[in-house]
C-alpha cells in the first residue's frame, strides 16, 4: 500500500507525517500525534465524537483520509484553549454541567465553536440544528444547548 508524506498544521503547530493511504485523519491525530481529544465513537460519520475543524469547517475526522488533510489547518479540542484561558464555550460547559461522561464533549465543543464562528448570535433552533450530528447519550442535550447559548451571549 502506498504511503504519503504529508504536512499539516494542527492547533497552530506544523506537523509532518508519513501515512498509509487507508489511515483516517482521526487515527493520525490520536495515534500518531497523541492528540486524543477527538474520539472514535462509530468510525462511520454518525456520532460526531471525532469532529475536528479542517480549514475552518467541522468535519467527521473518521471519514477524512489523513492524506486528504495534507496542507490543511486542523483544530482539535486541545486547540480550543490557550495559555490565556479557556474558550467561552468551555467555560460555559463547566458552569452549567454541559458535560457528563465527557466522551461526546470534544466533538460537541468543536461543532459548537465552528457554529458560533459562523453564527455569532444564534437562536435555540439554530443551535440544535448545528449540533444534530453530535450524539450524546448522557445529558439529554439540555445543558449542552444551554452552554452554547451562554457562550454566544458572552462572546
Amino acid at each position: 500500500m502506498a504511503t504519503h508524506k504529508i504536512s499539516l498544521t494542527v492547533n497552530g503547530v506544523l506537523e509532518q507525517a508519513e501515512v498509509p493511504s487507508n489511515m483516517v485523519l482521526l487515527t493520525l491525530l490520536r495515534e500518531r500525534l497523541g492528540l486524543t481529544g477527538a474520539k472514535n465513537g462509530c468510525a462511520a460519520g454518525e456520532c460526531g465524537a471525532c469532529t475536528v475543524i479542517m480549514d475552518g469547517e467541522p468535519v467527521n475526522s473518521c471519514l477524512v483520509l489523513a492524506v486528504e488533510a495534507d496542507g490543511s489547518e486542523i483544530v482539535t479540542v486541545e486547540g480550543l484553549s490557550s495559555e490565556s484561558g479557556l474558550d467561552p464555550l468551555q467555560e460555559a460547559m463547566i458552569e452549567v454541567s454541559g458535560t457528563q461522561c465527557g466522551f461526546c464533549t470534544p466533538g460537541v465543543l468543536i461543532s459548537a465553536r465552528a457554529f458560533l464562528d459562523r453564527t455569532p448570535s444564534p437562536s435555540e433552533d439554530e443551535i440544535k440544528e448545528a449540533l444534530r450530528g453530535n450524539l450524546c447519550r448522557c445529558t439529554g442535550y439540555v445543558r449542552i444547548v444551554e452552554s452554547v447559548k451562554i457562550a454566544a451571549k458572552g462572546g
Binding site: M1, A2, H4, P20, S21, N22, V24, T27, A43, A44, G45, G48, T51, M54, E57, P58, V59, N60, L63, V64, L65, V67, E68, S111, A114, F115, E129, A130, R132, G133, N134
Partner: protein, 298 residues
Amino acid sequence: MKSVRPGLPEFDYIRAETIEQVSELLKNGKPSRLLMGGTDVFVQMRDGAFSPAILVDVKHLPGMQSIQKTGNKGLRIGAAVDLNTLAGHPEVVKSFPLLAEAAQSVASYQLRSRATMGGNLCNASPAADTAPAALVLEAILVAQGSNGERRIPAHDFFTGPGQNALQDGEILTSIEIPPPPKGPVGRYLKLGRNAEGDLAIVGVAVLGYADKTSESGFRFRMALSSVAPTPIRVPTAEDILESRTIGDETISAAAQAARKTAKPIDDVRASAGYRSAMVEVHARRALHAVWTALGREA
C-alpha cells in the same frame, strides 16, 4: 450477517489533477473507485461492499468545487461542491431554495462539510436527498470520459439502486441546473425516524410555477426519494395538477397519484405500507405548501 471492519481495508490513494490522468488510471485495469467526499465510499468499504486497489480522488480537478452562473440564471455546480457550500450559496438560496433545503436535510453539518452533491447523485441511493431536487429542476449531469463530454438528463441518470448511467471511465464533473421557470416555488419534505437528520423514509420534492399555457394555469413537477428502486418523477401527479383547477381536491388527487406511482419496499426504516401512505401525506403537504406560497405571490 455482514461484519464491519474496524478500519478501511488497504488501497492506494491517488489525487488526480487532470481528467486525462483519471482516464489513464481508470484504464489501467486495476479495480479502482472514484472518491469525492468519501462519506459513501468509506462507509461502504468498511461494510465490505467493495475493496478497490485504487481510490482516485477527483474533487480537486479543475472546476469541480465551484458554482457558476450560466446564461439566463442557470447554474453550473461542480460535482464536488460540498452540501454546506451548496446550501449556503447565495445563487442557490435565491434561485433554487428547494435545492438548498434538500442539501440541508442530509445528516449533519459536519458530514455535509465533506459530502458532495455529485457523490450523492453518483451513489444513486433511492434515498439520495438531492436527487428529487435534481429531478424536478431537470438538472443535466455532465460527465467526462475518454470520448469527451456527455450530458445526461437527471431523468435518465438513476438506473437502479446504487446504479447510475455513467459508463466505465466516465466521471461526473458538474451538475447544470437550467434557468428556472418564472416565479417558481419549491419544497422538499423529508420524513425520517428522528425529527431531522435520518435517511429518508419518504422524500418529496415539488416545484410549482404559474404558466398560462396549462389548463390549470400552473405547472408542477414532483419527485420522490426512498419509495422506489431509484428516485423518481411523478408524471401522473403532474398531469393532474396541470389539467384540473388547483384546490384541495386536485391536490389530494395528485397526492394519491404519487402514492400509486411509488413502489416502496420494507427496510429497517419503515414498511412498504407505511411508506405508501406517507408518500400521499407528504406529497399533499408539499403541494399545499407550494400552492399556498404561489397563491401568496399571485
